[in-house]
Each structure stands twice: as structure tokens, then as C-alpha cells.
């Protein structure tokens, strides 16, 4: 056991800290309040793409993407990524833009795209000039994603697409969609899918916002009517889309849960419990609340330690962390939901205040996150699907037998 990252990384941490101090208070001309809060005194103003460029140049973003595709051109380094994320968050420096294009499409293209696709899409995606949305789920293809039915037919050298996608985040302001489409209706379920790249301004695309229980339109439905795109807008071969998509699904699962962010919420909750009173008594002094707090803190600590173990296995190739890695999505989302829900319990009626209500605490963030994480428990593979994966791939238990006559 050795929790030190070594002197090379201490120097790197210092470098990142200096960078953060230099850019503290940065503000963007092209964004709304969502990006930088706490920056009342603004001395550094630039655009989002400019900021991306600075981060790439320093190697703080797109570190392992080759230079010729607009990246930094270095070795990928999980420890450095972690240092960057934690120092940025400490100094309240805006992180690089994320999103599904950067997190999922870029790695996919790097692995499986043609040279032309790499040249055409990676650089503008990294620089925030092309925003992507992901067209995977459909009304009848959720957990059973491979049952998707949106149809793509090759007619006169073009793909003609008809059907519907759902749960499409950022579709309303994306320029492009990477999309799974059934192109070989005769083939087996998994073998009939292709991975297509669709411009969102194509004729025949309709985007309808889907309001979720938090009352925000976090998702969309996307309808396709004879949407026509060039034959070359395919990644991998015809019928190989399932494998292409799976090359990046792992990224999504891993990125949904950050134990350090969850621990920061525990600290915020402790502050609330020290501040709030009931009949004049501080909540932190009440045995029932205290016990539940410490119980949840223990779970979060165990989750944090487990994440260190998973990180360690990424650095040390001799270490096995299959099972500890497989459980992170399940555990991370469930704990966070429980934690946020407990904070509401602690505040009682005050915990239910929402939007711009009088007497609201922390801008209603506990109630919002409590609901938001229920969404994350369901999205990206529900907890039940996670348990199937853990039992089948982690513990070697048999698959559920198919019902006769069902595909």
C-alpha cells in the first residue's frame, strides 16, 4: 500500500496549482451563469473555445489525443487527470467542456474512425465548435438497447433514416448526432445495427424537449422522417455498430459517479446539521440524525476507498479490480441518492422547498439532486441491469433463459 503519487506528480500538482492561481476568476463572454459562479471580480475574459485551446496547449485536456487531430499529443495519465480535476475544483476553475461528443465520440473515432473522419470531426469537437448528442435509446429499446428499430436504408448512395430516439440530452443545441440505426433488418438483433453520424440540421429531424421530474428539460425526443445523409457517414462497417458503440459505453458508466463530489456533499450536509435547529436544538446533536449521518459517511468513505483501488489497478497492471470497478455505477448513484434524500429528511418541510421559494435552503439543490440522481440510477444502465452485469460477468452466474418464441 502506498498512497503517494511520487515526486513527478508533486511537481505536476504544483504546476497545475500555479495555473489555477493565474486563471482564478476567469469569465466567459459566450456563456450564461452556469459556467463560473463565484467570480464577481472579473479580470480575465475570453470565449469558451479559447479556454479549450489553452487547456489543450497545457495538456490539461485531450491529453492523449494526437496533435494532428487537435489534441495535446501526450501519453494518457490517469493520475494527472485526477490531479487536474481535483485542483481545478479546489480553485473553482471551470473544467474543460465535456459532453458526449468529447467523452464518447472522440475516443470511438480515435479507435475505429477513418482517417478522414478523425480529421474532420475530432479537432472541432475538442474545441467546442461541434456539439454532439447521442442517439441510442428508443421508446422500445431502453435496457434492451439492441432491440432498437430506427431504420436506415441505403438508397442511391445515401442513408435514409426513419424512426425515433429518446432521452437525447443536448439535442436542442447539437450540430451532430452519433446514432445507432438498424440497417440490416434480416440479421440477428446485435448484428443488424450500424453507427451513423447525422447532422442535426438535416431535413426531416424534429427535436421535442422532454421535461423530467426536476421540471428541467434535460432530455429530448428526436424524430426522423426520411432524413438523408451520405453513405460515408458511418463508423465501422455496416452491421458492426453494436461493437462500435460498446467501445465507449464503459466511459459513460465510469463518469457518472465521482466519490470526491459525493464526499463534498457529506461535508455540506454536516454544515447544515450544525447550522439548522429544531426546537432550538442543533440537528447534529440529535442522536437519530447523527447516527444516520455517520452511517452514510461510512458508506461514502468505503466508496472513496474503493475508487482509489480502481484507480490503482489502472496504474498497476498486475492488480485485478474487475469486480470493484464493476460496482461503481450501482453503488455511486445509489449512495448519492440516499445522501441527498437524507439531507431533505434532516431539514424536514424546509427540505421540500423548491425553485425560488421563500425560506429555501441551498437553492433547493438537495431536492434537485435527490431527483436528478434517481435519473442517474435509471440512466446509463439501471441498477437492475447493473446487478445483472455484476452477477453474470463478475460472479459467473448464468443468464436468464430466453422465453421461447421471443427474439
Amino acid at each position: 500500500m502506498d498512497l503517494n503519487f511520487g515526486s513527478e506528480y508533486e511537481l505536476f500538482s504544483q504546476e497545475v496549482r500555479d495555473f489555477c492561481i493565474q486563471w482564478k476568476g476567469i469569465n466567459f463572454t459566450d456563456s450564461k451563469s452556469s459556467v463560473v459562479q463565484n467570480s464577481k471580480v472579473t479580470t480575465k475574459t475570453l470565449t469558451r473555445p479559447e479556454w479549450q485551446s489553452i487547456l489543450i496547449e497545457k495538456g490539461y485536456f485531450a491529453r492523449s489525443v494526437p496533435k494532428k487531430y487537435g489534441g495535446y499529443g501526450g501519453e494518457s495519465d490517469v493520475i494527472k487527470s485526477r490531479i487536474i480535476a481535483s485542483e481545478f475544483s479546489k480553485y473553482n476553475i471551470p473544467p474543460p467542456m465535456g459532453g458526449q461528443g468529447i467523452d464518447m465520440l472522440v475516443p470511438t473515432l480515435l479507435e475505429l474512425g477513418t482517417e478522414e473522419q478523425k480529421k474532420q470531426y475530432i479537432e472541432p469537437t475538442l474545441h467546442g465548435k461541434i456539439i454532439w448528442c447521442q442517439g441510442y435509446s428508443e421508446p422500445n429499446a431502453g435496457s434492451d438497447l439492441a432491440a432498437l428499430q430506427t431504420k436506415g436504408e441505403l438508397i442511391d448512395g445515401n442513408w435514409v433514416i426513419n424512426g425515433q430516439k429518446i432521452w437525447t440530452s443536448t439535442a436542442q443545441y447539437s450540430q451532430m448526432m452519433f446514432c445507432l440505426v438498424r440497417t440490416e433488418p434480416e440479421a440477428n438483433k446485435h448484428a443488424g445495427i450500424s453507427y451513423l453520424l447525422i447532422p442535426m440540421n438535416s431535413k426531416g429531424i424534429e427535436v421535442r424537449p422532454l421535461v423530467d421530474m426536476t421540471l428541467k428539460a434535460g432530455f429530448n425526443e428526436v424524430f426522423f422522417t426520411d432524413v438523408t445523409i451520405p453513405e460515408s457517414n458511418i463508423v465501422g462497417k455496416r452491421g458492426e455498430g453494436w461493437a462500435v458503440a460498446n467501445a465507449t459505453l464503459g466511459h459513460e458508466r465510469g463518469s457518472l459517479t465521482d466519490p470526491n463530489a459525493t464526499m463534498n456533499r457529506v461535508h455540506s450536509l454536516i454544515e447544515i446539521m450544525k447550522r439548522e435547529t429544531i426546537d432550538g436544538a442543533k440537528l447534529i446533536d440529535m442522536p437519530i440524525y447523527r447516527d444516520r449521518l455517520i452511517k452514510i459517511q461510512g458508506k461514502v468513505m468505503a466508496f472513496q476507498s474503493n475508487s482509489l483501488r480502481v484507480l490503482s489497478a489502472k496504474i498497476n497492471s498486475n492488480q485485478d479490480s474487475k469486480l470493484p470497478g464493476m460496482i461503481q455505477k450501482l453503488i455511486g448513484t445509489e449512495i448519492r441518492h440516499e445522501l441527498e434524500g437524507f439531507a431533505i429528511d434532516v431539514m424536514g418541510e424546509l427540505g421540500t422547498l423548491y425553485e425560488d421559494s421563500p425560506n429555501i435552503r441551498d437553492e433547493g439543490s438537495w431536492q434537485f439532486t435527490y431527483m436528478y440522481y434517481l435519473g442517474l440510477i435509471i440512466g446509463g444502465g439501471t441498477s437492475q441491469i447493473q446487478k445483472n452485469i455484476i452477477s453474470e460477468r463478475g460472479l459467473g452466474m448464468p443468464r436468464e433463459p430466453k422465453i421461447q418464441g421471443m427474439k
Binding site: F5, K387, I390, E400
Partner: protein
């Protein structure tokens, strides 16, 4: 950066597991539990002390192996996994740590050297420091001990016991002295033994550095809690493994029960909760020497969190076995009971969580 057990630790751990599977099978555990296996038990104990489990934590200066708590944690996983019918947490973890931190040079030289040669062995009775039940209480005055220690770990067959008053002052008593009465307690867990000990004006050797300081007893209890958590993790892992294996063999409705999602999800839940227990317990063991600020919090949380998870696994793994899980024949209950007892030793989860709150200034 490396978060996990080292190759040496895993190697040693495997040796312990191998020894237990060769010499301490379920049949042998049953004989010992029924009270017909004293010589078999002695053999297991002797074999494992020959491997070195008795002197893991004794500094090299006193002829021990000088290893750290993470090493003992790795061993404890194996002992729990095999429901090893031997003393460990008291005699070989808490006692050497209490003496190392609480003894003066003469005391360390005397006790630790003899412990590493196996010429003496200590039971540990700290219940009265952690929280006295009934009228149990220990008073130590002028090198004489009086009173009753209600729940002494690893005392049966030991040559000495270590007891504490409610202030954390620790004394060592030779059990052959007049005025010592050892009463065997019968718990649900027949794989290890516990005792009540009564002292009537018995001479005691007080560890010098524990007269005005509770540092030594706190270190000893934190280590004990981590080791018991590790034992419960080992027990839980065996239960989970047995449940998965059984579910792949047992057929109902024309298929193995392990293909039913109800059963698969129970097993997945056990695995998903158990893995982070390993992580926090290793982290806690490592923290004892290497992370000053949080070492106490980690010990408390590793203990209380693991107790909750292990209790859940003890129940669910038994359920996966259906009616057979409930029988003596299958013997699942040895692990169930071991977990049940570990949960109460050195403070039950609620008490330990309250301690964790106090440590953090709440």
C-alpha cells in the same frame, strides 16, 4: 501509488488459507464446536503459529516479524474465511499493540520477547473501557486488580490476561495467581472462546505509559476493530462464494436457481456491498501508521460499515441456500454466527458510530 495488498501479503494469506483448508475442514470445525476437538484445535493453532501469525505485529527488536496492521488484516481475511478456530484478535493483535505503545522498555522486553517465542500468550479484556454492562467493572490500585471483566477475548488457554479500567489503564495478570477465576462463556460462535474473569486482590503489572494516557488502549482497540472487520469480510466472502456455487447447482422449476434474477440480484448486492468493505478496511489498516488525522475515523467507519454489510450478507447468503442454509448439516451457520459475534465485539455499530461522531467534534 498502489492501493491494495502487496504480493508478500497475498502470498502469506494464501499460505494461511491453504493450511486451513488442509487442517481445519468443516468436519473438524464441527468436532471442535461440539467440544470433541481439543487436540485438533491445538494442532491448527500450533500450525498457524508456526507460520508466524503469533508474532506478526511484534517489532523485530523483540524477535517478532515486525509487520504492519495491513499484513494482519490480510491474514484476518483468511481466518474469517475459514472460520479458523484459534485465538487471533486479542492475543496476536491487540495485546502486542497495547504493550508496544503502553509498556516501558522493561515491560516490552519481557512480554514481547516471550510472546514471540510462544512461551506466554495473553487474553484481552477491554469491555469495561468500551462500555461496562451489568455491574462489571475493573479497578486497578497499587498494582492490585479487583472486579470483573465480562467479555475477555482469547483468554481460554492463555497464560496471562490484559485488562483495563474505565480510564484505559492497562494491567497484565498471570492467570495462575490466586484470586483469578476464569469462567468460560458460551456464545453462538463455537469457533472461538470468550470468558468472564473475576479478580479478587490479584497482583497486576500496570503498563507504565497507560497510567496517564489512553493512547495505547485506543490504538489497540482501533486495530482490534479493523481486524474483526477483516475477519467478517473473510467470512462474508466465503458465504457469498458458497451462495453463488450453490445457486449454480440447485435446480427448481427445471433450471438452476442461479439463473433467476431474484437470486442473481441478491448475489450482486452482496458483491457490490462487500468490495468497498475490503477497500475501506485496507485503507483503515494503512491509515493507522500513515495517515495521522483520520486514522481513528477510518478505524471506526471500517468497523461499523463492515458490520452492517456483513450482517446483510450473512442473512442473504443463508437465504440463497433455502432450507438447507438453515440446517446444521450444511454448516452455513458457522459463518453466520462468527459475523454475528464480530459485530458485537469491541463495540456494536451504533456505539462505534457515536464514537466516530465524537472524534469529529460533533
Amino acid at each position: 501509488m498502489y492501493f491494495g495488498l502487496s504480493e508478500d501479503q497475498i502470498f502469506f494469506q494464501k499460505n494461511v488459507s491453504k493450511f486451513l483448508s488442509d487442517h481445519s475442514s468443516l468436519d473438524i470445525i464441527k468436532k471442535i464446536a461440539d467440544g470433541h476437538g481439543e487436540s485438533l484445535q491445538e494442532e491448527v493453532h500450533k500450525g498457524l503459529t508456526n507460520l508466524g501469525i503469533g508474532s506478526l505485529l511484534i517489532p523485530e527488536k523483540y524477535n517478532g516479524l515486525g509487520l504492519d496492521l495491513l499484513f494482519a488484516t490480510a491474514v484476518s481475511h483468511s481466518l474469517g474465511s475459514g472460520v479458523a478456530p484459534i485465538p487471533f484478535v486479542g492475543s496476536y493483535v491487540m495485546a502486542p499493540i497495547a504493550i508496544t505503545y503502553g509498556g516501558n522498555e522493561d515491560q516490552k522486553d519481557n512480554y514481547l520477547k516471550k510472546m514471540s517465542e510462544n512461551s506466554i500468550r495473553l487474553g484481552v479484556g477491554f469491555s469495561e473501557y468500551i462500555g461496562a454492562r451489568e455491574d462489571a467493572s475493573i479497578t486497578i490500585a497499587d498494582n492490585v486488580v479487583n472486579g470483573r471483566a465480562l467479555f475477555v477475548l482469547d483468554a481460554m488457554g492463555s497464560s496471562h490476561v490484559m485488562i483495563s479500567n474505565k480510564f484505559g489503564t492497562i494491567g497484565i495478570v498471570d492467570v495462575k495467581k490466586d484470586g483469578v477465576e476464569i469462567i468460560k462463556l458460551i456464545t453462538v460462535d463455537k469457533t472461538r472462546s470468550y470468558s468472564e474473569i473475576r479478580f479478587n486482590n490479584v497482583e497486576v503489572d500496570v503498563l507504565e505509559n497507560t497510567i496517564d494516557s489512553s493512547d495505547a488502549i485506543v490504538k489497540s482497540i482501533d486495530a482490534g476493530r479493523i481486524i474483526l472487520a477483516a475477519d467478517s469480510i473473510g467470512s462474508s466472502q466465503t458465504l457469498l462464494n458458497k451462495a453463488v456455487e450453490y445457486s449454480k447447482e440447485r435446480k427448481q422449476f427445471g433450471r438452476v436457481i442461479g439463473s433467476f434474477q431474484a437470486v442473481k440480484h441478491m448475489c450482486a448486492e452482496m458483491a457490490a456491498e462487500l468490495e468497498p468493505c475490503y477497500s475501506i478496511t485496507w485503507h483503515a489498516a494503512h491509515a493507522q501508521k500513515n495517515i495521522k488525522d483520520d486514522s481513528r475515523l477510518y478505524a471506526c467507519q471500517a468497523s461499523s460499515h463492515t458490520s452492517e454489510v456483513s450482517k446483510m450478507i450473512a442473512k442473504k447468503a443463508t437465504e440463497v441456500h433455502g432450507g438447507m442454509g438453515f440446517t446444521d448439516l450444511m454448516g452455513i451457520h458457522y459463518w453466520f454466527k462468527r459475523i454475528g459475534l464480530n459485530r458485537q465485539l469491541l463495540g456494536s455499530p451504533e456505539l462505534i458510530r457515536e464514537e466516530a461522531a465524537i472524534i469529529q467534534g460533533f
